[in-house]
Structures are given as C-alpha cells and as structure tokens.
Symmetry: C2
C-alpha cells in the first residue's frame, strides 16, 4: 500500500487536512478519471512556476501585470490596501469596489517578529507619490494586528492631508444572529452604529 | 489569474471541498515548497497507474498481491468481508483483527440499482470453497444496505453449516455520550446488551 500511504502522508501536510480526510481524499483520487488526476496533479506541480506576485500591487497573477493593475475600467483614484493576495479576490468578488489594490504581505505583528520592514510600505508610498489617488481604503483584517497596521499607515501618510483615509466597517455579519455574535464584534457594532 | 482559477476549479471537484476551502488550498499551494508541490502533483497524477485492486481480495495495492493476502503471519482461518477497499485499512488499523479480507465493492442497494451481480460474491464463494476458513466476519456498514448485504451472504452460505458467520457489533461508540447517540444506535445497543 506504499503509494497510498505516500499520498496520504503528502495530503496530510495540507492545512485543515487530518488523517481521516487525507485517507478519504486518497481513495477518492484512486476512483476518479485519470484525466482529472493528470490535470489536478499538473496544476499542483506547476502552480509556482505559473503564478508570481504582480510587480505593481503584489497580488498573484500569471500575467506580467495583474488584471486589476492593467485594467482600463478600474477607478485609479481609489487604492485598497490589504494584507494578503487572497484578500484581493475576496474584495473584488464582493462587487462593491472598482479601484486598485495594494498587498502588504501581512500585518504588523511584533509577537511573530513581523515589523514594518517586512511589509511593502515603501512600494505603497511610492505608488501614492506617483499615482493620483484620492482615497486610500485600509482593508487590513479587523484584528489587533490589522488595526495596528492601519494606524501605522495613517502615521506614514500624515503629511498628505488631502488624501482621504478610510477603513472597512466592522460589525455584525449580514445574515448573522445577535446571539451568536462575539462580544467584541457586538461592542464594535454598537460603537460604530449608523443612523437609520 | 487564470492559473489560480483553474486550480480552484479542479480542487472544487474533490469531495467536501467548497469554494472557500478550494481557494484557501490554492493559495496555500502557491506558498509551499516547490519540492512539496512536485511530490504531491506527481502522486496525484500517477496514483491510478501505481494502485490497482488486489486480484485476490480486491483491496488497493501497489504490489502484485496485497500485503494482507501475501502475509505469512495472518490467520488464514478468518475472512472479514467489507464493502470498500478503505474499510480494509480501517479494520487493519484497529489492531483487533489478524485474518484475511474480502472487498465486495459496495453493498446491495436496489434504489441505486446495485444488485448482487454488481458485487464480488462469485469470488467470495470461490475463496471460501478453495480456502480453509472457519469464520466469516461480515463487516458491512451498520446501514440498511449493509444489513441487507449481510443477510444475502448468510443466504449464499446456507449450505455450509460448519462455517461460523459473525457480524461486527453495533452500539454506542466508545467515548460517546448517551445524550448524543441517535435513537437507532441506542435501540440497537439496548437490544444487543451484553452481560457484565
């Protein structure tokens, strides 16, 4: 059974994949179409060759410049600053934003040894300097690290009073239930309550 | 982003993999070691070439004959009949069984059009005829289909009164809690209660 054991051992290294899930997946792959296995295997093998960070914004792309940075139809007066490349996809998929993006590569987290030097602030400042942005939307996560990073960006941009700085709203998730909301989220949604 | 979208589309076809999990996994794979991706991709691409059903028992193997059928140390008077190849692994891993296995390839399920002809009963009968089994342990699932299949095997072997037929015990899972047990399991564990 060595080929299956090897497969299970490799699958178990994926995030959120325990012994049972990995075993189930391995047996599933023995039953699927050979053409599907080849396609998936090839995609996994070559993903790192085909994908690289966009040299402008830092999101992942298989083009020279990503689809957002090279788009003619996006609003070049708006810049949305996010922590990770996948945040770009989430925000783009929400349909509520049509500006450009900037990926920091994480959030400031002194406990994990991630200081401002580890993130792409110089590129952010250069883009703001050279671009024609009117508003910077800070869309770091609603966590302590994300909040710290947002404050740091405000500090970096203190010499640009004409630039509007905003932060994504925090509060109750849509479709959520007050009873299931954690205290911090509830407190923040109370503090940030809006007029009806 | 086509290479990532392709990857997500392929990953979403795996069982239990929704849009969010597939996206998370795809982004994880962009960050992992290239050597890991190559190893996993290769394992996925080639698993069907390397694994085939054991011609004797039907469990998956990368050898001519599987490790259980070819083992010198297993008890050849015991035969455990299971539905699927992965059930062999589960039972072998329990450490409570040291006999041989037979994989039926499913359970009788008229609603899904799976009759006895679709399962490996002829091979089972031939092995029992040619082997020296004293006990057949029917380890089909504790479901209606598994029970039907167990009864069918009893019917098939009615002309062999010396052969002991047993079925895996059903009841409360170890470490479980009465409050969380479903009614059917509780009823079965009551009906099958054992002397202390």
């Amino acid at each position: 059974m060595n080929a299956i054991d090897d497969m299970i051992r490799l699958l178990k290294r994926l995030p959120g994949m325990g012994e049972k899930s990995a075993t189930r997946l391995a047996y599933h792959l023995i039953r699927t179409d050979e053409s599907y296995n080849k396609a998936l295997g090839d995609a996994v093998s070559t993903i790192k060759e085909r994908i690289h960070p966009c040299p402008v914004c830092g999101c992942y792309t298989d083009q020279d410049i990503c689809q957002y940075c090279s788009s003619e139809s996006r609003d070049r007066s708006l810049l949305c600053v996010v922590e990770e490349p996948q945040d770009v996809i989430s925000i783009a998929a929400s349909g509520a934003y049509n500006g450009l993006f900037h990926v920091l590569g994480g959030a400031i987290n002194p406990l994990d040894g991630i200081g401002p030097d580890a993130l792409s602030f110089p590129a952010l400042l250069r883009r703001i300097e050279e671009g024609s942005f009117k508003e910077i939307i800070i869309a770091t996560n609603p966590t302590e690290e994300g909040d710290t990073t947002a404050l740091y960006i405000r500090h970096l941009l203190r010499s640009k009073p004409d630039l509007v700085l905003t932060r994504l709203a925090s509060g109750l998730p849509i479709g959520g239930d007050l009873g299931y909301a954690d205290k911090l989220t509830l407190a923040r949604s109370m503090k940030g309550r809006v007029k009806l």
